[in-house]
């Protein structure tokens, strides 16, 4: 969210100023299983369920059937050094129901990346293992070149 409201008019230039909107919506992955036609958003705290509905209908032309909102308590955390407690901001969650024949699956952008990373790690582990075997083999004859073998 922008930290400033749209400013009161002042005389003088420059007049054209760009401000970030106060209303925003962020798609989030639902923490619990829910019907396929329900989409979860984290929304700006000022937005009401009517705002959420018109945001989706007017800007994205989505067929919205129903909107339910709730405010989730932010997490608290204890500081490891000094022991004081910090709290994250509360967030407003909006559960948007689409018509029953629609379904929304949260996109999985990073599964491929994770797979690739796992593969790389595996090859790295293998080469490390190979080097350790080489060291083990040559423990009693230090300085032997790698190509030398019995």
């Amino acid at each position: 969210m922008s930290t400033r409201w749209y400013p009161i008019y002042q005389r003088g230039n420059p007049q054209l100023r760009v401000f970030l909107p106060n209303f925003w919506m962020k798609l989030i992955r639902p923490t619990e299983e829910q019907p396929p036609n329900v989409v979860t958003f984290s929304v700006s705290m000022e937005m009401t369920k009517y705002d959420v509905r018109s945001y989706l209908e007017k800007i994205y032309k989505l067929p919205v059937v129903d909107v339910r909102t709730r405010i989730a308590l932010g997490e608290t955390k204890k500081d490891q050094t000094y022991g004081y407690i910090t709290k994250k901001d509360d967030v407003k969650l909006a559960y948007v129901t689409l018509p029953r024949e629609e379904s929304f699956v949260f996109p999985d952008f990073f599964s491929e990346k994770a797979e690739k990373q796992a593969k790389e790690e595996k090859s790295l582990d293998e080469s490390k293992e190979g080097f350790r075997r080489f060291l083990d083999r040559n423990k009693k004859r230090p300085g032997t070149p790698g190509w030398f073998s019995i």
Binding site: T31, E32, E33, Q34, P35, N37, V38, V64, V65, D66, R68, T76, K77, K78, G83, I85, K87, Y95, T97, P99, R100
Partner: protein, 555 residues
């Protein structure tokens, strides 16, 4: 010594066996039998043990002799009430029909058209005597409708401090219409239909019912808790039971001492294939918009048990005023589904509550089918439904194994009249709708069962208990539970600072552990019988110290 004697006995038996003597001779005077009788082999796994414990508890409930004590027994595990899904007649979320069908195990069908209406369609004339009687009823009904509207108009004009909302206005008008129509119909029909002389009319009765539903995904805290234990990890995602509490207030309901005859045979009702086809809603009901609350299990069909003999429902008139609050975006087809689901849940709940007064409950299966008729109306539009309750077992494994299903059949909303004109005359009266309503009134409840057949699990009545103290205790406890009042001792409060600094983060480790959460006490787990007993003053009990506290008689 003892062990030695046993060994000697065994040795002598062995010797006799070696000598070719039979064991028979010694059988009569010992605990041995010729045929070995072994106890049943039981599955020692955790899951099987849990299921056995549950089955034992259900059997205990069945053995409890009276209706009131059965309900108390079901409520014993929770002092502050169960966490229940709030099923009521005033809120139906979008796409609620699959959940309603799952939670009531109901197959939905269309109500077959009336034979009379088909005759009229084909152009044949109905019998003149029927026609004459129908004409008089029709006139009475139109008069009642016009009167109701007139009365409502008059009521509206009265100086009233609060302006009623649209929902309240519909409720007030429909209440008048339904009451007037019921009065007119009872008056007009009771000559030909003698059973209507005996009906009991309840105005705005309380209909409440409690049941358990299986086959629902576990909530996140249950999954996390199971995943935390190595041996329970595999069971983490297994379905759990949800408890449901229905609360509703129809405009009016009619009861009779006999039962309506079922319209599905036993063979039709027991169909495992059909039971598998019923839609299932596996997600948490909160994802659809239902809420949860803590409440004692109550089963109230609009009267106290044994209050009178009219123990079976004939007809109930449900309100659809709250459907006005549903947004337009839900659509027309969903409104139709909402009407279906309202009919299903109100009929199921009313029948379950009646069954409860005959000794059955969500854990003890019905032994005979029960039927009712339901009308949903806003005065102008009338939807007609018939319901047959065949089974109450919806929990745990019965969600899959139970071959029985319940049936509901109904119509679309039919208009009774188009409008009431400005001069108070009824315009475009619809005869087909009235015929359907008359058909419901004329449906004669004919089934009467012997007491043993009707109440197989009820062995006694609290009035038969000789101890007046016990009678008093049971009646009071039962009525307290059914009253839905909060417990005398409120739940201990957790302050927000305590949640932040003591529960979520242990910042005050050195503080004395006096609060319940530091002592590892879960107040929700408190059982109904965990309370201080009532003190009996010395003036009443005499000088003895023995009976200082009143006895409790929990089943």
């Amino acid at each position: 010594m003892l062990k030695l004697s046993l060994v000697n006995q065994l040795r002598s038996t062995y010797k006799r066996c070696l000598a070719g003597q039979s064991l028979q001779a010694n059988v009569a005077d010992s605990e041995y039998s010729a045929q070995p009788v072994y106890p049943e082999i039981q599955d020692p796994s955790f899951k099987a043990r849990k299921q056995r414990d549950a089955a034992d508890w259900h059997e205990e409930i069945r053995q409890v002799p009276t209706v009131e004590e059965k309900l108390i027994k079901i409520n014993i595990p929770r002092y502050y009430g169960y966490k229940v899904v709030d099923f009521n007649d005033s809120k139906i979320p979008y796409n609620a029909l699959p959940l309603t069908q799952h939670y009531t195990r109901t197959v939905l069908e269309d109500l077959p058209p009336l034979p009379g209406s088909q005759v009229v369609d084909q152009g044949d004339q109905p019998k003149p005597s029927e026609d004459a009687s129908f004409k008089t009823v029709r006139e009475d009904v139109i008069e009642a409708l016009e009167f109701a509207h007139d009365y409502y108009k008059h009521q509206e004009k009265l100086p009233n401090s609060a302006q009623p909302s649209a929902v309240e206005r519909e409720q007030i008008l429909t209440q008048i219409i339904v009451e007037q129509l019921n009065r007119a119909l009872l008056q007009a029909l009771s000559e030909d239909h003698k059973h209507l002389d005996e009906v009991e009319v309840d105005y705005n009765p309380r209909h409440e019912a409690f049941w358990a539903v299986g086959g629902v995904d576990p909530p996140k805290n249950v999954i996390n808790s199971k995943k935390g234990r190595e041996w329970q990890k595999d069971m983490a995602n297994e379905s759990v039971d949800r408890l449901v509490q229905y609360t509703g207030t129809p405009y009016l309901s009619l009861r009779h001492r006999r039962q309506l005859s079922p319209w599905k045979t036993t063979a039709e009702s027991e169909n495992i294939e059909l039971s598998k086809q019923i839609p299932r809603f596996k997600h948490d009901p909160r994802t659809l918009g239902y809420s949860t609350k803590h409440q004692h299990a109550t089963n109230v069909p609009g009267y106290w048990p044994k209050g009178n003999e009219q123990n079976f429902g004939l007809l109930s008139f449900q309100s659809r005023a709250h459907l006005q609050l549903r947004p337009k975006s839900y659509g027309e087809s969903d409104l139709q589904e909402a009407l279906h689901s309202l009919a299903i849940k109100s009929s199921y709940a009313w029948l379950l509550a009646q069954a409860n007064y005959n000794g059955f409950n969500t854990y003890n299966e019905l032994t005979y089918p029960m039927n009712t008729q339901t009308v949903i109306t806003n005065g102008r539009e009338w939807s007609f439904y018939e319901y047959q309750l065949n089974t109450l077992l919806l929990h745990g494994k019965y969600q899959e194994d139970n071959p029985r299903v319940n049936f509901c059949r109904g119509t679309k909303p039919l208009p009774l009249y188009a409008e009431i004109s400005t001069n108070g005359k009824c315009v475009d009266f619809n005869d087909a709708t009235l015929r359907q309503l008359l058909n419901f009134y004329a449906n004669v409840p004919s089934i009467q069962r012997s007491n043993e057949e009707q109440q197989p699990y009820v062995a006694s009545d609290i009035s038969a208990y000789e101890n007046p103290e016990q009678r008093d205790f049971i009646a009071k406890t039962f009525k307290y539970l059914a009253s839905n009042r909060p417990r005398h001792l409120e739940l201990p409060e957790v302050y927000l600072w305590e949640k932040l600094y003591k529960i979520d983060n242990n910042n005050r480790a050195m503080e004395a552990k006096r609060r319940f959460f530091t002592l590892d006490v879960n107040p929700w787990r408190r059982t109904l019988d965990q309370h201080d007993k009532v003190y009996v003053p010395r003036a009443i009990r005499g000088k003895s110290r023995e009976n200082r506290y009143k006895k409790t008689y929990y089943p």
